[in-house]
Structures are given as C-alpha cells and as structure tokens.
Amino acid sequence: MRLARDSTAIAFKELRQLSRDPVSLILTFMFPILLIGIFIVIAGAFSAPSYNIPVVVADLDTSPASTVLVDKMTTSPIIHVTQLVSTEEQALHHVEAGDAMGAVIIPQGFGESLLTTGRAFIVLQTDNSKITAPTLIQAAVNRDAEDLASTEGSQFGIKEVAIEVVVRPISGRPPTGDVILPGFLSMIAILGAFDDIVNAITRERERGTFPRLLLSPVNILSVYSGKMFATVLLTAVRTTLMLIIFVLMGLAIRGNILLIYITTALIAVFTLSLGLVMSARIRGSSTLTVLEIALTFPLFQLTGVFQSPELLAAGGRAISRALPWTYGNEALRRVIYLGLGIDAIAGDLLILLIGSLVMLPIALTLSKRTM
C-alpha cells in the first residue's frame, strides 16, 4: 500500500517537473513527430510515380523487336533514356563516368534469337554503388521486357509464362510502405523511454536532487516504480499522438487499441529498466543520451522495424531473437495489421515483462552500490 502511494507521489513529481521544463516537454513529444516526418519523406521518395533515372541504351540489333523494346524504355516513368549510343563500350563508359546510372545493351541477333528460339538476352550494367537505383532500373527494364513478351509476344514468337504466382497478403491490405509504421511506434516508445531515463535519473543526479530523494523515507523500489509509472503515462501520450498521425496517414488499425497501449507501455518499461542499469554506471546525461541514441540506430535493423528478423542472416536472427524489443515489434504488427488478440501476443508481452523483471533487480543492486 505504502509502495503504491510513494510510487504515485514520485510519478506525479516527475510529471510536474517535466511540465515546468518547456524545452524537455517539447522535446519529449517532438521526437515522434520528427521521426514520422522523416519517414514520410523517405516513403514519399520510394513511392514517387516517376524517377527519371538516367540510363543510356545501345541498340546493337536494330531489329523490329529491339526497336519496340527501346520505345518501351523511352516511355518508362522510372528510367529516362538520356542517350542512344552506338557501341557497348560507350554505354559502359557513361556508367563508369557517373553520367548515367545504368546502361542497357541490346546485343546483335536479339530479334533473330527471339523469333527462332523464343529466348534472347539483353545486357544491363548499373552503378551498383547506389542503394536503390540499380534495383529500380532492373525492375523497369524487366517490366519492359515482360511487356514486350505479353503485348507483342505472338509477333516475335514468345510464349506466355507457364506458371503465374498470385500473392495474397492475409490482412488484405495493399502492399504499401506503411508496413514499417508499427516498428516506428515501437522505436518512439524506446527513444521516449531513453529520454525519460535521462530526465529521471542522470539529470536528477547532476542537479544533486537524487541523493536527497534517496535519503527521504521512500524505498528505492518506490522511486524506480514511480519513475516507471511516469514513463508509462508519457508513453501513453506519445502512443496516442502516433496513432493519430497513423490514422491521418490512412492506416487502418484492425486490433484492440488497448493492446497497442499495453505493448508500447511494456516496451517502454523494458527500455527504462535497461536504462536504469546503464545509468547506474554512466553518470553524465549527455553521455548517456549519446550512447542510447547510438544503440538505437542498429536496433532499426535488428528488431525488425524495416524488415522481418526472419530475413536476417543466422547471426542477426539470433541477436534479434535475444532482444525483447523484437517481440514488442511483432506484437504491435500483429495487433495493428492482423487484428489479432491477446492470445496471439501473450508470449511476446511475457518476454518483455520477463526482460524488465530481470533488468530491474540488476538496476537496483547497481544503484545501491554506486549511490
């Protein structure tokens, strides 16, 4: 009873302190908005209707089939044929010099081969030092080649594809860039909790109020649970803000909203527990923040924010499975996209809870030692 009363008192003290510090107050809610802003820019760039990626073409065949293919490429919204060159060397030189990001070479005998065997090849050279352009160029040229097969196929003796793969996502959603939004919600809960730990412990230490708090007739467990309670409340506000942004962006949330709040709260509590362990050793608030931010960036990759941990290499998958945040991300995706209930995510929530319960005694012991 006393523990609960003291914890509540500490939680309200935290919130009062935050409300009196306008800079921290703005920052604690600016992180999510700015992160999402950056995501919108990136997602917008990925889903742009046209890119005009500079590509040069060398049509060494000049047959009717190659001419049709070149025509298709010149009208592609993805690539922009900047020059038609006469030799393969010229085409490759443009890519090596950085004037074009890709070169398409249609070899001599392309049309003839299509007519006689139904098969032919084209050569594609891309600037593979780039991140996204090579894939986009390849996809565009691929599409044009498939288009050549499907629309003018009979004219050039091309058969239809024998087996077609029909993809059906189980949620029924169109495959859009918003697949990473639940991961972002999780990252915001993590970043927010890291920021809370800096405000709650290290800045209190720097101001000299932490020893006073510990000397007061309040149990250290109450101090920590009070700070956790404050973080849970702040995480709920951040989650609400994010869900509003998600809905404004057109994301349909299928599952129970309460489960989303429970998951983000558990992610924040685990992060805070880890932060408490770290803050027992690292005393400076800015040092701790730098370290936490540095740790956050690889988490985007390892906890499955951008792509499922199942697609990682064996080592990465093992690390990913050892991180409780991965389970938090999974739970959020299952609730938000698939509309699954507590029975489907109970295991994930349990792992987050166990992670926190393991970290908290370590933090308490370390804090007592380094007090």
């Binding site: 920052l27 950056i38 820019v41 990136i42 760039a45 742009a48 990626i53 990001m101 299509l114 139904g118 090849f121 050569v123 594609l124 050279q125 891309t126 593979n128 030092s129 780039k130 991140i131 996204t132 691929n142 080649a145 498939e146 050549l148 097969a149 239809e160 594809v161 024998a162 087996i163 077609e164 793969v165 029909v166 993809v167 059906r168 996502p169 189980i170 949620s171 495959p175 690292i282 608030s285 800015s286 923040t289 730098v290 540095a294 960036f297 690889p298 990759q301 951008f306 792509q307 499922s308 697609l311 990682l312 290499a313 064996a314 080592g315 990465g316 093992a318 996209y337 698939l338 489907a344």
Partner: protein, 381 residues
Amino acid sequence: MLKLLRDLVAVAGNEFRQFRRNKTAILISLVVLPLFFTVSLGAAGGGPTTTFSPTANIPITFIDNDLSAESSQLLQALRSSGDFDRIILGYREDSALAVLGTGKIYAAIVIPEGFHTRLANNQTSEIILYTDDGEPGIGDQLSVTLRSVVQDFNPNVEVQAERRGLTQVEIVQKGALFSSFNIGLVIVLGVVQIFATFYEIAGGMSREREDGTLARLLVSPTGIAPIMLGKTLFVSVLAIIRTFIVLGLAVYVFGARPSTDLVTLLAVSLIIALVTMGFGFVVSSFRVGARAVVIVEFFLVLFLFAFSGLVIDKELLRGVSKTISNILPWAYGFELLRRTVLIGRPLLSLTTELSIIFGSTLLFYVFSYAIFAYSRERLAF
C-alpha cells in the same frame, strides 16, 4: 607560426590527457560506436563472402490441392532450389490461413486443383501464395524468390534445370556487384565518424563551458585558432583510430575487401570527420548546452539517413528533399566513400565532391572562428 604550432600541440596534448582519464569516453568513442555498428551490420546480412538465401529458413507450408505428378515435381523443385529449406507439409488451406500471423508459419503456397490440366493444355497455371504481411518484407521477398523458381519450372522434365533468370528475355547483369556488407560498410564508416566526431567537438566545447574551463582557456594567452586546431588534431587522431577499428573488424572478422588502398580510406574518413568537426564548432559557437548538442546530433544523423543517400539515392529525391540533399556536405562525403571503397576510383579524380566538401569545411571553420572571435566573452560563460 611556431607559437601557433606550440599552442596547438599543447591544446591537443591537454585533450588527450583528459580523454585518457575518462574511461566512459574511451569506451564509447573507441569501442562501443565502431564495434556496435560494424558487428550489427555483419550479423544482419552476413559478411561479404557469405551467401545466404533470406527465404531459406522461413517456415512455409505447401498445400497441394491438385495431387498430380506436376505439383509433386514443383514441390521437389522448390525443395532443391536452396531457397525453401523449411517447407512444412500437412496443413489444409483453411488451417494454414488460421495459423498464418501467429509466427508458426509465414506463408502458404497453394497449388489449386486443375494445376496440371492447365499446364497440359498449354495454359497458364496459377499458384497462390498467402503471406503474413504483418512481417515487413517477407511477402515481397517470398514472391520474388518463388517467381524466379517457377519461371524455370518445366513439368516435363524430371530433374529441374539450373535456374537461369527470365524465361523469354533474360537480363544479363554486368559490372561489379557489391555485397550488402560492403555497401553497409560505407555507411558505417561514415556514420561512426559523424556520430563520434560531432559529439567530441560540440559536446566537448559545451562541457568545457559548463565546467568553467572554457573561460580559463579563452583568457589564457592561447589564441582561438590554436584551441580549434588543437581540438581538431585530437579528434582527428581518434577518427583515424576508429577507422582502423571499423576496417579491422570488417576485413579480419567479416572478410571485407575494399576496392581502394588504406591511405585513401583514411583520407576519406578524415575528410568526413573534418567537415563534421567544422559543423561541431559552428554548433558550439551558438553557445548550446550539452543536452542540446545531443539533440542536434540525433537530428543530424536522422537527416543524413533521409537525405544523404543512405536509405534512398539522393538522385531519386525530389523537391525540398533534393535541395536539402544537395546542400548537405556529408552527402558528398558518402559519395566519396562509395566511389573509392566500392568502385575503386582514385580519390583525386572525384574533384566535384572534394571541392564541395573542402569548401564546406573551410566555411564551417571560418564562420565558427569569426563567431568565437567576435563574441569571445559571451561564449565563455
């Protein structure tokens, strides 16, 4: 000139002494940052020499509603492809759909009834791939891999031929192919330097101000230039050590083979570190606190991820994003890294990138020097 050099070395020596006494700073700057970024890169995608199929270990169920020789052959083709090593049999279509999304299986390949009849009649047969789209990227990756396997599937052949690519018009890829580790290494080399050097300069200056040592330094007979250059010298040495650590891990642990020599690599890393140090001085010339420095750092790295070609090529950005990308000197730094580390271009042939980045560095240093000189007293306290 001699005095400038002497003062510069004295300031740098003082920085090294302070650094040596701060175990946390050593740990973060030289161990945590380079180690964590490089190891997570290697762990996530494997080394540059390791090849793995991202779909090979994903549990997938194969539901054969056709029960024909052709559908069995297709299952055999999938199993022997090396891309589908965890095919689970025994599910019905409805039970598979009920399990999808729970993490037991991530996709279901369904061969519909009439599959073999359509193939026999020279018609296009369908395969249905149900995917758990709650897992980002899995559906796209599985459909691409499945399409590439079935495109070369020939139901009339007992042993499936080696995969060749597209059936009608094959695209032969020419030119150097870089592993995702090598592409990631370029990012890690740049990001680690930016992350660490910015904090070492801007954070160091703000800490000196908060501790009151900056005021003492400014009233000493040491000029502003030796203070800035001394700190630059100190952080440059740390930057070189960090480059060695990242490269050492990449080359000796993960087997990376950069296409350029060590001198070029060190030079490019140092160029990126210098422009970041210049920016660090600019930020600290605005008298910002340690907490604000960290926040600026966070947004700097976020901006770099969005606009420097780390997630999407800067050439593909449009409008305001493109303008931001064009004015960020780090974007040219990453271009230098890509062109040298991946393609092996000589550093001195990249004149445009070098001019922009050197110009920006000079601008940052001159601007911050002017502010420091103009408002020396205000900045000290």
